[in-house]
Symmetry: C2
Subunit: 297 residues, 2 copies
């Protein structure tokens, strides 16, 4: 369908660099809506994987993809899909290295393996957070989940801004690759801030104190009021970077964030203790939140 | 399900080598039978991809995998699947580098990206066959397709040998990596010998004369008689290596094949001319074959 042959590809790895590899699959009706625009599905597939590279501080290199296609998919669907891929390949400096097309009796399944590279020993990991580190987050939190809610008619979205954030996440590649020696740990937020902060705590063996009032919201999310706080913090599909940064590197973080053109916000601190996430308001009082697991729909 | 997290993996590529990358997907009900043993499905998934590495002459390195899982798949299915993967990881020297598990409302979809490596400039390609080269094939041809026929009750298979060949192909990795400087071109036979020989002709800009009587058949296939010739030559799932070798390298080919423990058989020659495959019998008379496309079922 996309000219994907089952030939193998040859790649000369950048000399003296480590490779970073990640794979993610997206299923129609699970990770995207069957009537999402095809070009946006292509871009989201790449961007979800680019976000994995961003979280490791890697420079994008290329990707392989398999597509399993139901018989009733309109043939021109792949025109849009390929156009979306091409746009983001250019934007992020990625080459399509190979892949495979198969049929399926079920929904469209897209599987992508992405390759990037880092200087040896400089990859960001999720297990390096230390007690005393500050918690920082890029961009705004909650627009992905609210965008899905908007597309499904559960919240208003007069200018479509939330839906755009759901469909086209912004992988923080430009910032991630600048954070070696700045962040002690990093991960991208795909399952929801609370859940992913919990993952980072468990990987690093520390506790987190999160100031929920400081978690940055977009203008569109703010218009929806305080009632969406829990949805914003436990919904997924943000693809922002969650960072652990020692206080004496605050200026370095701000400098790199400014250079990458990415806003960063302080939202709490890591502490010694069993892995858990404590949520506090501006007055230091506990905020009770149901931490239901995120399902993409 | 398999402990696949969405973390990215770090890989230090072997210094001074080129990477070889390929991706293939397998869908339940399309590429394998829903009641195929789970361990054999795991092994076939790896072996189909290993065959791509074999055709390039690459040394296996590792793989990433995504699995999209229907709700009704028995949870213990993955125990068998993982056991099959583990067995072939050991056998072929592969490491699992990462992956992702998702749900799907359709059939089980398995997508695998494999990595291998070659000395720079030595990868085998399908576009190097020259007029005057001999056509060679490894192993026997047709057992994969006949094995599927046997599993579906269309041909007898008293000792189950054909079914085993369908379920567990033998990727010719040990031979492929010995053929740099011996074969001018190589590809693996997955769509059927006639079709794949045609692909090789088109990629190389040559014609092929195939002696159908010389195409090696297993003992089990021979027992089915001449009536299965067409099925053997146009069925798929052989995963044997199809090679273009200049006559003055015949001894080198035989030596490397013996060292790798892989039988090789001369089955024809490449000639100057428009890309096409001419099929002749032992008397030099044309053999008429319907070259229907191979569908896995």
């Amino acid at each position: 369908v996309l000219g994907l042959a089952d030939d193998a590809a040859l790649l000369t790895p950048p000399p003296g660099r480590q490779l970073v590899l990640a794979a993610d699959a997206m299923v129609s009706g699970v990770h995207f809506l069957p009537d999402d625009p095809a070009d946006e599905v292509g871009r989201k597939l790449l961007r979800v994987n680019l976000s994995d590279l961003a979280a490791m501080g890697a420079v994008p290199l290329g990707y392989l993809m398999t597509v399993s296609v139901p018989a009733d998919l309109p043939p021109d669907w792949f025109d849009g899909f390929a156009a979306g891929l091409a746009a983001d390949q250019d934007l992020f400096g990625l080459a399509l290295l190979g892949g495979d097309t198969t049929s399926t009796t079920g929904p469209l399944v897209l599987s992508l393996t992405i390759l990037g590279h880092v200087a040896p020993g400089t990859a960001l990991r999720r297990n390096g957070a230390e007690a005393g580190d500050d918690i920082w987050i890029t961009g705004t939190v909650g627009d992905g989940a609210l965008g899905l809610d908007a597309l499904q008619g559960r919240v208003p979205d007069p200018d479509g801004g939330l839906a755009r954030r759901y469909r086209r996440p912004e992988p923080r590649v430009a910032l991630g690759r600048r954070l070696a020696g700045v962040a002690n740990a990093a991960m991208d937020v795909s399952d929801g801030l609370l859940q992913d902060l919990g993952h980072l705590c468990r990987a690093s063996g520390v506790a987190a104190v999160l100031r929920t009032d400081l978690v940055p919201a977009s203008e569109a999310a703010r218009r929806l009021g305080d009632g969406v706080l829990e949805r914003r913090l436990s919904g997924g599909d943000d693809y922002e970077l969650l960072l652990a940064v020692p206080p004496d590197r605050t200026e370095a973080l701000r400098r790199e964030a400014a250079a990458a053109g990415v806003p960063v916000t302080w939202i709490g601190s890591f502490e010694a203790g069993d892995p858990k996430v404590v949520t506090l308001d501006a007055d230091g009082k506990p905020v009770e939140l149901a931490r239901s697991g995120w399902s993409h729909f």
